[in-house]
Structures are given as C-alpha cells and as structure tokens.
C-alpha cells in the first residue's frame, strides 16, 4: 500500500493550508471593511467618525 501513496501529498497539503489561511485572512479583512463602509453610509457624521477611528485601529492591529 505504501508504494501507492504519493509522497508529495503532505507538501501540497501544507501549501493548501497556507492558501486557505491567507484566503481566510483576506475574507475577514474584506468583511470588516465592507461592514465599516456600510455603517458609515447609515450613521450620521459624529458617530461615523468614531466608526472610522475604530476601523483604522482594527487595521493597525491586523498589520501588526
């Protein structure tokens, strides 16, 4: 049975995991930026600034 197992599966698996992790990270980032931009549209000016501040803090955390 061992002879029929492709030795590269683990290596490809790692690359797929990394791709999934990066994909997930991008999706979460996209979700937050869309959420903030829609809130910005709904809320009046003062509260909008607070949301923008929160969004920029969130980005800073992600960059770290």
């Amino acid at each position: 049975m061992q002879l029929y197992i492709d030795a590269t599966t683990g290596g490809i698996g790692i690359q797929m995991l990394l791709a999934a992790a990066v994909g997930g990270f991008v999706t979460i980032k996209l979700f937050w930026s869309r959420l903030f931009s829609s809130l910005r549209r709904i809320l009046p000016g003062g509260q909008r600034d607070e949301i923008e501040d929160a969004a920029s803090t969130e980005d800073a955390v992600e960059i770290k």
Binding site: I5, A7, T8, G10, G11, M16, A19
Partner: protein, 463 residues
Amino acid sequence: MAGSFRDPAGGVVLGRDRAYRYFLRGFTEEFSRVTDSGLLPSLIDKGMVVPTAPVPRNGSALYDIAPDVELVVEHPRIPFISYPYEWPFEMLKAAALLHLDVLEAALAAGFTLKDATPYNVQFMGPDPLIIDVASFEAYQPGSPWMGYTQFCRTFLNPLILQSALKIPYQTWLRSSLEGIDPAQLSRLLPLNRKLRKDIFMDVVLQAWLNRKSAASQKQKPKGAASSPPRPIPKEIIVGMIRRLSRFVARMKRPGKNASIWLDYEANAPYEAEALEFKDRFVEAAVSEAAPRVVWDLGCNTGRYSEIAARHTQHVVAMDFDEAVVGAVYERVRERSRNVLPLVIDLMNPSPSQGWGQSERMGLLERGPADFAVCLALVHHLAIAGNVPLPRIAEWLGAHVQSAVVEFVPKNDPMVQTLLRTRPDVFPDYTQAAFEEALKSHFTITSVTQIPKSERVLFLVAGR
C-alpha cells in the same frame, strides 16, 4: 550519462572537455522559451546555472545520438562529479540556497523548476551550479510547488538533522538517495525542536499530513473521485521560498571546531623548518608534474590542497572527517577557486549505486587521478585500518598516475598514539617494506627525509 535516464525530455552525454544535453522532439519548446525569456542567460551570467550554448545542427554527429533528437546544447565539463552525501554541511547549505534563489528567479519570470534535488547541483571548485537546464518549465498559475517535498527530503531534512541533532547526514543520505523522510526525522526530534515554527511546518506538519493522507486513501471507497486540488496562489509559493531561504541561511554547523583534526596542523609534530620543507617539496612536485587533476587524499585542513591548487587546474580534497572538510570549504571558497573539498572515507569510499548500480558513480570510477598528495595518510590506513602496505601501494598504483607519499615511521609520536590503544601486530610496517611495495607499481623518483624528522617523502610515477 547513467544518471540522466530518468528525464523523458532527453539525456546527457560526456565528451572530453564538454558535456552535451540533448532534447528529444516535443521537448525543445519549453527550453527555447526559458532561453528566449532571458531567464537562462541571466542565471548563467550570475554564475547560478552552468554555461549553456546550442550546438549547431550542421553535420554534428551529436544529433544522431538518439532517434528524434531535436536540439543539443553544450556545457563545460564539471571537473569532478560529486554527490550530496560527499558534501559537508556548508556545501549542502550553499546548494540549498542556490536552488531556492534560482526557483524564485524562475517564478518571477513565469517559470518553475520541475524538481528540487541536490543531484541537479554540481560544484565548480567551491561554487555550486544548477546543471540540469531541462528542469525549467512554464509555471501554471494556481499549481503548487511540486518540488517542495523533494526539497525537504533531500536538502532541508539532512541540514536539520545535522544542525538540530548534531548528526552528520552523509551516511544516511548515501544509503537513501531519495533523502530523509519527514516522518523519520520527526520521530528523532525532541519536543522543543518540533515546536519551532519552521521545523513544525516542514517536518512535523508534513509528516502528519502524509500520514493522514495515507489513512484517508485506505478508507476511501474504491473508485471514489478525489476533490480537485485548491489552486495555490504564486505569492504563497514565493513566501514559502523566502521563508525557507531565511531558515536555511540561519542554520549553523553545531559544535563548530569540535573535530580534533581541525587542530592537527597546530599540534602536528613538525618544527617550522620541517613544515616549510614539506610545503616546498609538495609545491615543486606538483609544479614539475603539471597534472590536470590532483587528489589530496586525507587533506585535513587543506594546506596542501591550496599549495597544489597553484599548479594544477583542479584539486579534489578528500578527508573522512566531515568537520574538517567543512573547514576546508570555508577556507578555499574565497582563496582557491579550483579546490573541491569532499567527505570521503578511503576505508569505505562512495560506492557505485542507484538504479543498476550505475546511476551514481563510485569514487574510483571518477579516477584515475593525474597526481595524488598522500601526506600523513599511510599510517592511518595501515595501522588504524589494518590494510597491509602492499595493498595500499597496489590501490595507489591502480587509481593514481603519480604521487607524493609520506611514510611515517613507527617511532613517530603520531604512530605511537595510534598504537597506544591497539596491539602492535604490524611487524611489516617499515620504510623498507613500503618502498618495496611501491616499487611493484611505480617508479620511485626520489626518497627524501624531512629535516628534523624521521618522516620520509616518496615521489613516485606510474610506469
């Protein structure tokens, strides 16, 4: 060439001074694209890939070497073919970094490398070079790095074995040409090493995923279709290559300077006058012989390899001690561009092995040497290795055309050190017996005693 049969795209044949790679019909387009894109010329200019030039078809017999040969290219011949299990830690590390650099450059130009094996790397003196120009192929967006597993098995895991566990990898790599399996390496690593980021990903996680994949394959009903693989963005592969480059570059030989042989030169029982005499003698002998290739057998820290290198095209410096060969590599990489240091145990040199026992050449198939420097060697073979003097002379006669050979008499402190832990069963170990043995295979040109020493230098030439 025996090792090139695996590639369906063509093969390699060796000429006297050139090596020729032929491409069969249907496999030349890829190579032409790599050349036309400027990638190959740029890598050749940077000294990363072996110089390559097309051989004009007009009347060249090389195009008849096999049916359907469409293109032949030529390279300079590598002076001495060597294998990863003969390289010290520093050389395998240099080869690994070269492979990653070439792969990253290839990806930037829209290409990739089909495989990731150190058998595609050879050393021209101390410089590693990719020799398999047929390894390049177009990169298909979304495809994974197919050579990653092979890179780990043949480059990374041996380096981890030595840097993390202090176990030289040469003996393992010599008997396992496909490299070190991540599951086996993982079993050897202690927990604190396994939890380090790079080792966790490249060894532990890879071994676990291999095991999971094998288990799921067993459970899968017969004929069940596999889900299509998820595309891998190129940035992920480039990120992996850069991470691996940083990881490999950080790796260090553990216990540097641990070998007693590194101090041999400083502790050698020679007075300065004797040492200077020996230097001059070797220099004059090599210069007079004007050989093309010199083998420095038992090279120690490479002192005589460097002296010989001034008067010959190539020196192959061999020693069984991996740490001293690593030190020789560090010493010659800046100073003597024509010295190739290799880990070779003359009591058990590299065998002919691989498919049909002809894929990887044994040491002696790569000879004979035009000239050999055998200093402070014979007493190790005769007393530590129990090889009778006539057999040592016979071996030299078969594989060396001429040589300078040092005989260290029994009353020398170094021989006495060897005899301290073993009974003296060597009544035939005498200068006269050695001289007689050499006469059976060589013409003895001179017999010279080293001043302020009882050691003797024989200058011998083949008949």
